[in-house]
Symmetry: D2
Subunit: 275 residues, 4 copies
C-alpha cells in the first residue's frame, strides 16, 4: 500500500503523517522524503504494511496537511493506460510483451496509431488497435478523434511510444502529467530534422534517450529517466538509429515502471524520483 | 545535521522520531526509512535543517525508541581516519589528494605502511607515515604496533587502501564496522593466488571491485559498493591489473563518501545504503 | 561481405590475406586482427566492399594459409537458428519480436520447449513450437527427440533462451560452438540452488548475466558478453530475479547480434570479440 | 611498436602495408583498419612485434602509399606534454599522480597556470609551475607568454586541465590536433554561463563530460571520449558540480591514455578511436 504526498513544506509534516498512520496501526515499511529547499516543497512516498480504504485515508491526510496538499493513496492497484504509436515497433512491442505477461505494472486498454503499420502486432496480442489517421484533417479534428477513444478507456496515463505527431497545447492540458513520451535526445542534443545524421557528423561517442512527461511549459516536460549507450566511429547513421532504438526501449520501460510504482512526483518542471 | 537510527521494528517509530524532532522545531529536509521485513529491523536516516546539541538529542531519541536502538546524531562533522597501505599507490594517492583539498569528507590523521614504498607520496602531502614492518615478527606483535598508532589517532574509521596483510580476528574485533577494505573481486570471483591471471584465462568481459566492511563473520564483510569495468580479448593479465586499479580507486572513493556522509547502515552481514 | 580467419600465427599472414584480396580487386573497408601471443594464434575479421563467391574464396584463402586455418567467408547472409526454452518468457519474447520485424540478424526456424508454457507466445508469431517433454523418459531419449527436430531445421546456432535442462556431453559435442546460453551469473557467482536468494543474503550491489557458448570443457564455455545491473537493499529476492531478467534479455540480445554479425571468434575456452 | 596511418582509400592498401612489414620480418600482433566510405578515407593502426628504426620505416611506407598519407611510426615512446590549468585541482592532480608514478603514458614537462592556486600541488611533485596571468594584458600578449614556455618544452600535446581561458584561433592553429580539452558538457548541453545551474533547473538525470581536441572549426573539436554520471533530485547545483568533477577527471584520464597510446586518429571533425 503506497501513499504519495506533496505540499508546501513546514515543520512537523512527517510527524503529522506518521502519527496519523500509527493511529491506524499501520507500520511504515519504507519511507522516502525530500524537501526542495528552494521551492519550499515537501515530497514523500510511504509504503505501509497493510491495505486500507484509500479514499478514507486520503480525506484524513488532507484534513491534517496544508491546504495545497496532493495526496494519493495508491489509487489504482494496476494503472490503466493507452499507447499511441506511429510506425516504429520497438517501444510498443516491448510494452505489449510485458502487458501480455502481466509484468508491466499497468494494463494496456488499447493502442492508437496514426498509421496502420502496428495494427498487426497488436492483433497478435489480441490488443485493440484504433487507426486514427492525421491525413486530410485538421489537427483539431485529429485530436478530437484521439480524445474520444482515450476518454472511453478512462486511462491513468497516455504513453507515446514513438508517436511522431506533436500534440497541441489544448490536448496536453486535458491530461496534465498523464502523458509520457520517449525522446531520442542525443548528447549533446541535436535540434531539428534528422538528429542522428547530425550526431553521426559530430562524431559523438554516446547517444541517449529521455523519458519525460509532456507539458506545454517547455520544449520538454519533467524528465523521468535518461540513459545512454556507447557508439564509435564504426557506426554509420543507421547504426546509430539502431542503437538509439535499443536505448529508447530500455529507458521507456524503466520510466514506466517508476511511474506505475508511484515513485515519480512532479513539481514545476522537475521530478522527484524515489527509485 | 544528520540522524541515523536502527532498531527492532514496530509500528509508530517514524511518528515517534518525527514527533520528537517537531517538538524541537526541527524541519526534516530529507528522510529515508527502510524496514527489513525478514529481519524485522528498522533503519532511518534523517537530515534536519538546523544544528542541535548531538548528545542531548541522542539521549532523548534513545529514551523513546526500543532498547536495542542505535542512534547516531552526526557525531563527527568530519570523520577521523587512518589509512593502511602496502605498496600500491592508486587508492592511497586518490585519498591523499582529496584529503589535501578538503573534499574527502574526512580527515586523514596518518598513514601506516608495512613497506616503505609509500612514505614518499605521504611526505609530499606533509602526511605522517609510519612504517610498521611485518617481517621478522609475529602477527600479534605486528598488529600490536599497528594498534598502538591507531589508538593514538582516535579514529572513526580504518581504511585499508590495498593493504595486503590479513588482519587477525582479535584485531578486527577491536574495530567493529570501522575497518573498510577494497577488494579486487572479479566477476565471477576468483579465489586464491593471482586472481587476474585466472580472469584472463577465463576470458571474462568484465572485472570488478568491491568495497566492504571487514568482519570476522565471513570471507568478506558487508558490501558497501561494487562497480565493474569492461575488458576484452586484447587485455593481457597486466592490462587487467591496470583496469582493476582504476575501478578499485573509483569504488573505494565512492564507498568512503557514502560512509563519511553517514549514508551506510549495517545489520548482520548486509548494508542499507541511503545514497 | 565478411571474412573470418583463425590459424596458427606466423609473419606475413596479413600480407598474404590482403594480397589475395587485392588480386581480386576487393577493397578492405574494415579489418580487425589480433594475435594471442601466449597461444600463438592469429585471428582476423575482414569486411570487403563487394560480394564474392564464398566457397571459391575460402578455398583460395586456405591454399595460402597455414594448414590449420579456419576460414569462413560469410556463409549465411542470415543465420538459421532454433531456440530452446522452458517456462520463462523474457528472452524468447525478445527474440521473437526481433525475428518478426527482421532485425535479429538471424531467422528463427522454430522453438522447442520442454514445457508447453511458451507455445502460446510462439503461436502468436506464427512460429513453430515443438513440445519435447523431458518427463518420464531418459535424458538420452529426450535429447534424441530434440536432435531430430534440430537436424530437420539445418541450423547454424542453437540458442538456449532460459532452457533449464542440462545438455549431455554427447549432445553438446554434436554442435561444437553452435550452442549459445544465457546464464544468471552473479557477482560474485553463487553456485547451487537458488542463486538469487544467496545474492540477496550476501547483500550484493550488482547482479549480472553472462552469455556464452556451451562446451563440455568447463562449467561454462567461452564468454561472449557480460553485463551487470545495480541493485540495492530495497530489493528482495524476487526483485533481484526481476532485475536479473532485464539484464539476461539485454545480454543475450547483445551476444546474439555479435555472433550473427560474425564478430565472435573462439579458441580454446576464450572468445575474441571484434565488436 | 605502433604504426598509425591515414590516407585516401584505394584497393590494396592493407596488402601494401602488410607486404612491406612482412619484407622486414615484422609480425603484426594487432591491427585495426577502418574505411570511412563517405569521406573515402583509410585509417589503420598496426602493432608489430619488434622495434624498428622509426624514421626509415616511415619513409618506406610513405613511398608506397598515396601522396597524402600521414604515417606515424611510434614517434615518442613516451609523449611529452604540458598541462594548462586555472584553479580547479581535480584533473591536474590526477595527471600529476599518474605522471609521478610513471603510469600516465606521457611525461609532464611543466604546468602553466593563469592563477597561482595550483602552484603548491605542482611543487609537491617537484613539477615546474609557471604562472602566466591573463590580467592586465591583451590576449595576444598572454598567449605569447604561454607559447614561449610551451615552445621551450617541445611538447607533443598541450592538455587543458580545466583551463578556463578561451584560446585564440591564431594560437590554436599553431598546435593542430595537439591541444586536448575537457569540457563539462551536459546532456543535453547547456550553453552559456553557469551550465550546472541550468542542468539543476532542468532536472536532468545524467550529467556528462567530453574530452576533445581543440580546433577552430567548430565550437568543439573532434570528440575523443565521453562519459556520463547519474544524478537525481537530491543533487543541488553544487552537488552536480562535484559529480561533474568526478566524471571530468575520469574522462580526461581515459582520453589521454587513448591519445598517448596512439589509438586516436583524426580526420575532418571526427575521431577514429581504435580502443
Amino acid at each position: 500500500m503506497v501513499i504519495v504526498i506533496q505540499c508546501a513544506d513546514k515543520v512537523g509534516l512527517v510527524a503529522t503523517i506518521a502519527g496519523l498512520l500509527q493511529g491506524q496501526d499501520l507500520n511504515i515499511v519504507s519511507m522516502r522524503e525530500h524537501v526542495d529547499g528552494i521551492q519550499n516543497r515537501f515530497f514523500a512516498r510511504v509504503e505501509v504494511s497493510k491495505p486500507v480504504e484509500a479514499h478514507t485515508l486520503e480525506v484524513q491526510l488532507k484534513a491534517v496537511l496544508p491546504p495545497d496538499a496532493q495526496v494519493i493513496v495508491n489509487p489504482n492497484p494496476v494503472k490503466r493506460i493507452v499507447v499511441l504509436a506511429t510506425k516504429e515497433y520497438h517501444c510498443l512491442s516491448d510494452i505489449l510483451i510485458r502487458n501480455h505477461f502481466n509484468t508491466l505494472g499497468a494494463e494496456v486498454l488499447g493502442v492508437i496509431g496514426n498509421h496502420s503499420t502496428l495494427d498487426d502486432i497488436c492483433r497478435r496480442f489480441d490488443m485493440t488497435f484504433d487507426l486514427v489517421s492525421h491525413e486530410g484533417i485538421s489537427k483539431e479534428a485529429f485530436e478530437a478523434q484521439l480524445d474520444k477513444i482515450i476518454k472511453k478507456y478512462r486511462v491513468d496515463y497516455i504513453v507515446l511510444a514513438k508517436f511522431v505527431r506533436i500534440l497541441s497545447p489544448s490536448f496536453v492540458e486535458k491530461y496534465p502529467l498523464q502523458i509520457i513520451n520517449i525522446h531520442h535526445s542525443f548528447l549533446p542534443a541535436f535540434i531539428g530534422a534528422n538528429p542522428y545524421k547530425q550526431a553521426y557528423e559530430r562524431g559523438v561517442k554516446l547517444i541517449g534517450a529521455t523519458a519525460h512527461f509532456v507539458t506545454n511549459q517547455l520544449d520538454e516536460g519533467p524528465i523521468i529517466a535518461q540513459q545512454i549507450i556507447s557508439v564509435n566511429h564504426s557506426y554509420n547513421s543507421s547504426d546509430m538509429v539502431k542503437a538509439g532504438k535499443e536505448i529508447e526501449t530500455a529507458v521507456l520501460a524503466n520510466a514506466l515502471q517508476l511511474v506505475f510504482d508511484d515513485k515519480v512526483l512532479v513539481y514545476q518542471n522537475k521530478t522527484v524520483v524515489f527509485d
